[in-house]
């Protein structure tokens, strides 16, 4: 079973990387970009039947730092 974990900074946490990328986009002439925030994508292949609780635990114990980050779990269908 393929699972994608989308890790993003919590709202209100300053993102220096996102700000630098935002400036770079503006420098390239891309207008109308209001905000850029950088996150992380973790793709995992886990045993079929791995419970949601178990995946949630992986996120809380390692994949995301709950002080500064949120995460979203996406299960990817096999034929996708």
């Amino acid at each position: 079973m393929k699972v994608r974990i989308h890790v993003s900074l919590k709202p209100g946490v300053l993102d220096p990387q996102g700000r630098a990328v935002h400036h770079a986009l503006e420098g390239l002439g891309f207008e109308g970009v209001d905000d850029v925030r950088i996150g992380r994508l973790v793709e995992m292949d886990v045993a079929d039947g791995t419970s949601d609780d178990r995946i949630d635990e992986m996120c809380r114990k390692l994949l995301a730092n709950m002080v500064i980050e949120n995460y979203r779990i996406e299960k990817v269908s096999e034929n996708a």
């Binding site: 946490v13 300053l14 220096p16 990387q17 994949l63 730092n65 002080v67 500064i68």
Partner: protein, 225 residues
Amino acid sequence: MAFRSAVITFPGSNCDRDMAVALEQVSGAAPLRVWHGDADLPQELDFIALPGGFSYGDYLRSGSMASRSPIMRSVVQAAERGVPVLGVCNGFQVLTESGLLPGALMRNAGINFVCRDTELSVENAQSLFTSGYETGQRITIPVAHHDGNFFADDATLDRIEGDGRVAFRYTDPVNGSARDIAGVLNAAGNVLGMMPHPERAIEDAHGGRDGRTMFESAIRGLVTA
């Protein structure tokens, strides 16, 4: 009795030798060198140091992989028993990731790696690590980091400030740290994490000895305790 300290080395630690030299110079006893894969620490330890560097290449988040390594379970248990633990730079990141200290250390606000002397204000000179300083004393200690931007929510910041757990503060902004916090103590006062490198300011050849006072404070406090 000889001072019994341990310096933990993770893959990618690079200030472990400097830390060991500082501890040996000030205490007169060479610290035990402990590898991250070791599961156990000796029961009888006076002091544990987590050095700077780039453990596990800063993969995932700085300090995150090291904080889950086998030896850290023993370090957390020792800290909970009251053994003093000092984490410098990457060691500070490992301490926040392990939950021994609050907050998180994020990418520097200015994006750049910062490597220079910084002036610090000693905010709490009552702790084990800082008793040799005066409260409000200005000291100079170098920093060298990319991820030193201390973040915690306002409630946490108010709490640690109110409890006197801010040990050191930058006198000018260095990396975007909330309230210019450079070093934080745990609630019991036996764990200190700081981004500046006291082990790089222990002899005149380093350009200053302000970091030596921190080691002297801790060692004197423990030997006379």
